[in-house]
């Protein structure tokens, strides 16, 4: 079965998810007990000298008085910090390797051509290269789960998926997908009102298509603005099962997005949200989750004049559901997808509570993308995505000492580690 065929229905995707879990767990399954550390389950208060037990890839017990099963591999975490694997909700991991374009022998699979600016059926994450060296180095620093997005730029740019950062195939890595549809609401080179008008027209057609499928198959409907596959892909959005992710910074654009969501009774997520703090009360009342950076304070355009580092803290104080995403600096973004923990630390420096900041890079994005039953917290039944840190995970001096993904600790040096080792003495040794 070709991947494109599997993607033709949401049911097909659910099957991929099921296959994934089976594949990942067949090998290396064992029992691991992480003992003596300060455990931050995120879903509840921290546990001093706590124990986390993972068996067959899943967490089976978390607590202060948990017995270590016989035969378990014991990891002494005394003096260490134990958290869920970090969740970077804004990446394009595996869709390119260092921005090296195809004509230079590289690949870039983040963008669909689409038709009339519509690529709703484009499942960007399905094009991932699981062997990308950036995935390994991201994992090495305690990030176990990521949302992989299509590149923006179209009216509807495509669908994102949630993946765990280990596995030999996309199917094996996928936690759930699709989880969100990326849409534009204006603020680029085209008129806002026109963009929003086109989006409304597309969504109205998607609704009409669903109501008149039989007539459509018989050629008895008027022409819709998008093809069958695009309209089909939009159905989970129309039914409120999948959020429309709207990249919006200006306060008025965020308000327009909230109004659209209420008008059509759909779910949305605000991505970017430079001026979201100015709209905090409305976002809280409308229960719209927001994904913001913690290091942005430069008015890089007239859409981000109100950009400030207190953004996340102000939103949280108003009761908004906040995830932190990394979008400040860094050469190639996927290269530093590992740095999501520093967004959290900077958010704390600018007023967010430490607990909220950890939540914003673990459980909060898991909730936003409908995978909180699998990842984002240390609770029995969740995937065994667990990190043991030498200290406060937000601090530069701290290292991820053990990183488990579905109960497996990935061994082997990253490309960075190999380069470092090779050149510690000069001239280097070229043979290994």
């Amino acid at each position: 079965m070709r991947i494109s065929q599997m993607l033709s229905s949401v049911a097909g995707l659910a099957m991929i998810g099921a296959t994934a879990a089976t594949v990942a767990r067949s090998a290396d399954a064992q029992t691991i007990a992480i003992v003596g550390g300060t455990v931050y389950p995120v879903s509840g208060p921290k546990i001093e000298k706590g124990t986390v037990v993972i068996r067959d890839g899943k967490i089976i017990a978390v607590g202060a008085n948990v017995a270590v099963p016989a035969g378990a591999t014991r990891i002494d975490a005394t003096g260490k910090w134990v958290t869920p694997g970090l969740f970077n909700a804004s990446t394009a991991l595996g869709l390119s390797e260092g921005n090296v374009p195809a004509q230079s022998g590289g690949y870039n699979d983040a963008r669909a051509k689409g038709e009339k600016g519509i690529a709703a059926s484009f499942s960007a994450w399905m094009g991932m290269n699981p062997a990308s060296t950036f995935i390994a180095q991201t994992r090495r620093d305690g990030v176990t789960t990521a949302v992989v997005w299509p590149g923006s730029g179209l009216l509807v740019s495509g669908r994102a998926g949630v993946v765990d950062l280990a596995g030999e195939s996309v199917a094996a890595m996928t936690v759930r997908g699709p989880v969100a549809m990326l849409a534009d609401i204006g603020g680029g080179s085209e008129s806002r009102a026109e963009v929003q008008g086109k989006l409304r027209e597309l969504l109205a057609d998607a609704k009409s298509f669903a109501a008149r499928k039989a007539a459509y198959e018989n050629g008895a409907t008027r022409a819709f603005v998008a093809s069958r596959a695009e309209l089909e892909a939009l159905q989970p959005v129309m039914s409120g099962k999948m959020p429309l992710a709207i990249d919006a910074d200006r306060a008025s654009d965020i308000r327009a997005a909230v109004a659209l969501a209420q008008e059509l009774a759909i779910k949305i997520v605000i991505v970017g949200g430079a001026e979201a703090w100015q709209v905090a009360k409305e976002l809280a009342a409308a229960k719209v989750p927001v994904m913001v950076g913690a290091m942005n304070n430069i008015p890089t355009s007239f859409n981000t004049l109100g950009s400030r580092q207190e953004n996340a803290a102000i939103l949280r104080a108003a009761g908004v559901h906040v995830s932190l995403i990394g979008n400040a600096g860094g050469g190639e973004n996927n290269f530093n997808a590992r740095n999501i923990r520093y967004e959290a630390g900077n958010a704390v420096a600018y007023g967010m509570s430490w607990d909220d900041a950890l939540r914003a890079i673990t459980l909060a994005p898991a909730e936003t993308f409908g995978v909180a039953d699998k990842v984002g917290s240390l609770v029995a039944g969740r995937e065994g995505n667990v990190v043991v840190w030498s200290g406060d995970p937000f601090e530069f001096a701290s290292q991820a000492e053990h990183v488990f993904i579905r109960g497996v600790e990935n061994s082997g040096m990253t490309r960075e580690e190999e380069l470092t080792a090779r050149y510690k003495t000069k001239p280097p040794t070229y043979r290994k």
């Binding site: 390797e97 260092g98 921005n99 090296v100 230079s104 590289g106 950036f134 100015q278 290091m295 942005n296 304070n297 430069i298 008015p299 890089t300 355009s301 007239f302 981000t304 004049l305 109100g306 400030r308 580092q309 207190e310 400040a328 600096g329 860094g330 050469g331 190639e332 996927n334 290269f335 530093n336 740095n339 520093y342 630390g345 900077n346 704390v348 420096a349 600018y350 937000f394 601090e395 530069f396 001096a397 701290s398 290292q399 960075e416 380069l419 470092t420 080792a421 050149y423 510690k424 000069k426 280097p428």
Partner: protein
Amino acid sequence: MLFPFTTHHERMTMRFRLSPLLFAFVATPVATRVAAQNAPPATATPAATAPAAPARVTTSPGAGALSIPNADPFPSTYKPFASRTTVIRNVNIYTATGPLIRNGAILFRDGKIAEVGATVNAPSDAVVIDGSGKYVTPGIVDDHSHLGANAAPGGFARTGANELTNPVTANVWVEHSVWPQDPQFPRDLAGGVTTIQVLPGSGNLIGGRSVVLKVVPGRSVQEMKFPGAKYGLKMACGENPMRVYQARGPATRMGNIAGDRAAWINAEAYRRRWDNWLTTRAGDPPQRDLGLETLAEVLRGNILVHNHCYMADEMLQMIDVAKEFGYQIRSFHHGVEAFKVADVLAKEGIGASLWADWGGGKMEMMDGIRANLAIVQAAGGKAIVHSDDPSGSQRLNQEAAKAIAAGRAAGINVSDEDAIRWLTINPAWALGLDDKIGSLVPGKNADLVLWSGNPFSIYTRAEKVWIDGAMLFDRTDPKQQWRTDFELGFVPANMGGNR
């Protein structure tokens, strides 16, 4: 203190600018003195030996018209802001010269560091700040910035660092693109940055002259210029020029090097022509060429070369180009592969201006490793943390902290004191200003930062920042914070409260 750091030469030039009439009367002597002031050391070039011959011109050209080395047509008009004698007590001090002083004190007065130690003698009129639990460092120096030239809010109107009309644009001076109302300046200051080098971009083989600025408000770039600072020359290796000039060339790395060598051949001929004329003053002076004039100043040792170069092999080639033409590369910028040639950089006395963790942006960035700075340090080189980024520049202390951790994780012993030097005295050296700034020793400029905690913690922020003894940023007092013209009305006022 009207012009606290101006040299004799700068005052003369100033007078010329303020009073052309006066200048007309004293034209020839002034021009001669300017030449004398700016001539390179006697051993360097023929120009140094005999500028005294009377000019034979009958009219009175300005210094610039005579292409005098280091003629300063856009002189600094910076004036220090009002300062008070200040003591910070009970504070941990990273001096950038010795070990951390715990619970020490620092006194600064008249814009200069006066005393640093376990205790200081506080004059009765001094402002006394309790620094319990806090840290003082020298002001951070970012030797790779585009602030003002690539300004916020961006777009065509405010993107001015890359003159992509010719692969060699040694004739442009980036200061002419600097907009003092760039809202990125106050944010940089709030990150503890007190001195920056604004460089032209990297799209050209030779991008033009840099300018060294104090991060202070001003109506013109001249009001921000660091008095007495040398100019820099921006050069670039690798993929950027290749990409920009794919159609007309250079389209390859060999084309890049050929383009560099051709430029230096012209520059050397120009330098000889001019130095000869400055010696003999016979006949008409040669025709000025702004680009060759800048390159000739590099060959005379008066302008420092800052070379954008990612890859180890290219750095070694550029060192040979420099040797072929007799100039010195001051620092390689962005060198993500500096770790591969750290021994050579140390031996050649070339700085390495680096990011902590950037990489992967293109093929030539693929080998970026986070132990880069630590490996350069361990080899005895001049490691420098730079930004090339208005966001990163605000958090250079965080970048250094990443690099310390990476070094230690790789088994390289890096001290916190070493890392402070990456942010302060080493970049000051790269700019030729290590005698004035970059460390907390008596007599140096009172450029310093009071941090809320250890600067290598993610939770720490710059609390107060002084330049030449004047407090220009105080996080605890929104009224003391600089808002640019641009921000008024556009950026909500409360944004200034807590950058």
